[in-house]
C-alpha cells in the first residue's frame, strides 16, 4: 500500500496491524484485566489491542518493558533509547525506530548520532556512543554477535556494571518488541488530522 514507510526516520509514524485488534466492548474479563496495565489516560493503541489476543503475556510484559526503559538509576534514559534504536535498526522495525530515535533526539539533542546509526556509520561517532552502538548492534543480531571485547570497550568508556546491564536489557527487550511490532504490522505515514 502506498502509505507504507520502509525507510528509517525519527519523525512520528503510525502503525497498521495485519491482525484485527481486540474490540474493547467485546473483550473477555482476562483481556480487560490485562489492558488495565496500560495507561488509562490515553487511547489504547492498536498495538496493545492486538497483543490483547494473548492477555496473559500482555499483562506481564508492560511492567517489565517500562521497568527496563524508565527504571531509576543506572544507564541514562537517552542511552537506553540509543540501544533500543540500534536493535530496531538491525531488526528493521521502522515504526520502533521512529519512536525510539525520536525519543533519543528529544533527550540527548544529538540528531547526528541517530543519522550515523541509520547509515551504519559507527566510525563517525564519539568513543562512548560508538561502544554503545557497536555492542547493541551485535547483541541484537541472531545469533548474538557481541563479544567480551565489546563489553571491555564499554567498561573502558566508563560504563559501570549496572549501566552495561541496563543497556543489555534495553537491547534484549527490543529483540522482543521488534519481533512483535514488525511481523504483526507495518509503519505508515500518520493520517492528516
Amino acid at each position: 500500500m502506498s502509505d507504507v514507510v520502509h525507510d528509517f526516520t525519527a519523525d512520528p509514524l503510525a502503525w497498521r496491524p495485519y491482525l484485527t485488534p481486540v474490540v474493547l466492548d467485546e473483550a473477555t474479563p482476562a483481556q480487560r484485566e490485562a489492558l488495565k496495565e496500560t495507561p488509562s489516560n490515553a487511547k489504547i493503541s492498536d498495538y496493545v489491542l492486538v497483543l490483547a489476543h494473548d492477555p496473559e503475556s500482555l499483562g506481564q510484559r508492560t511492567p517489565l518493558f517500562n521497568g527496563i526503559m524508565y527504571g531509576r538509576g543506572g544507564l541514562g534514559r537517552a542511552e537506553r533509547e540509543l540501544g533500543a534504536t540500534a536493535a530496531s535498526v538491525v531488526n528493521r522495525c521502522v515504526y520502533c525506530v521512529s519512536v525510539h530515535a525520536g525519543r533519543y533526539i528529544t533527550l540527548a539533542k544529538q540528531p547526528e548520532v541517530i543519522a550515523a546509526v541509520f547509515e551504519g556509520a559507527e566510525a563517525t561517532l564519539g568513543p562512548r556512543d560508538r561502544a554503545i552502538v557497536h555492542y547493541s548492534t551485535r547483541l541484537a543480531q541472531n545469533p548474538p554477535q557481541a563479544t567480551e571485547d565489546d563489553v571491555r570497550a564499554l567498561r573502558a568508556e566508563g560504563l559501570t556494571d549496572l549501566e552495561i546491564l541496563d543497556l543489555t536489557l534495553s537491547v534484549a527487550v527490543f529483540g522482543w518488541a521488534n519481533r512483535l511490532m514488525h511481523p504483526l504490522g507495518e509503519a505508515i505515514r500518520p493520517q492528516e488530522a
Binding site: 495485519y18 496473559e56 547483541l139 548474538p144 563489553v151 567498561r155 556494571d161 546491564l165 536489557l169 537491547v171
Partner: protein, 154 residues
C-alpha cells in the same frame, strides 16, 4: 524443572559466575525487580494458564528451536527437555516456518507471513501467542548472552 534455564536467582548467579558482592552481582541485585519480572513473563509465555492452541510441550519445543537458532545450546537443552512436537501437518509446518523466520531474520517479515499462518489454520489468538513465544525467548537468550559476557569480563 521450569525454574532452571529461566531467569531465577540461582541461574543468573551461575551464568555470571561472579562472587556475591562483586560489581556484576551487585548490578544484578540492583535490578532484581526486572529479573523477577522476566521470570513472570517466562511463566506467562512458556507455562500459561490458558495455552490456547499452543500446548506447553509445543511451546517448549519451539523455544528449544529458537534457543538453538540463537546459538545457546544450554538454553536449548533446557527447553528440549520439556518439549514435544505434535504430529506433522500443514499447521505445524507453517508454525515452524514462521518461528525460523522471525527468530533469525525478523527484518524479512511481511504481511504475507501472517497471511500464511492464517491460511494454515492458526487463529489470531494463537498467532499472537506464537509471536510472544518467539519474542520472549529472543529476549531471554540476549539477556543471558549479555550476562555471560559481563561475568567473563568482570
Amino acid at each position: 524443572m521450569c525454574e532452571e534455564g529461566a531467569l531465577g536467582p540461582d541461574v543468573i548467579e551461575r551464568l555470571i559466575g561472579a562472587a556475591p558482592g562483586s560489581p556484576v552481582a551487585e548490578a544484578v541485585a540492583a535490578r532484581a525487580n526486572l529479573m523477577q519480572a522476566s521470570q513472570a513473563n517466562y511463566a506467562a509465555v512458556l507455562t500459561p494458564k490458558d495455552p490456547g492452541g499452543l500446548p506447553q510441550p509445543l511451546r517448549f519445543a519451539l523455544a528449544a528451536r529458537i534457543a538453538r537458532l540463537g546459538g545457546d545450546a544450554e538454553l536449548a537443552a533446557h527447553y528440549a527437555a520439556g518439549g514435544a512436537l505434535p504430529k506433522a501437518d500443514a499447521r505445524l509446518t507453517a508454525i515452524l516456518r514462521h518461528v525460523d523466520l522471525i527468530a533469525t531474520s525478523p527484518r524479512e517479515a511481511t504481511r504475507a507471513d501472517i497471511a500464511a499462518l492464517t491460511a494454515a489454520g492458526v487463529s489470531p489468538d494463537d498467532i499472537v501467542r506464537l509471536s510472544q513465544v518467539i519474542a520472549f525467548v529472543s529476549y531471554q537468550l540476549r539477556l543471558i548472552a549479555g550476562l555471560r559476557l559481563m561475568g567473563a569480563t568482570a
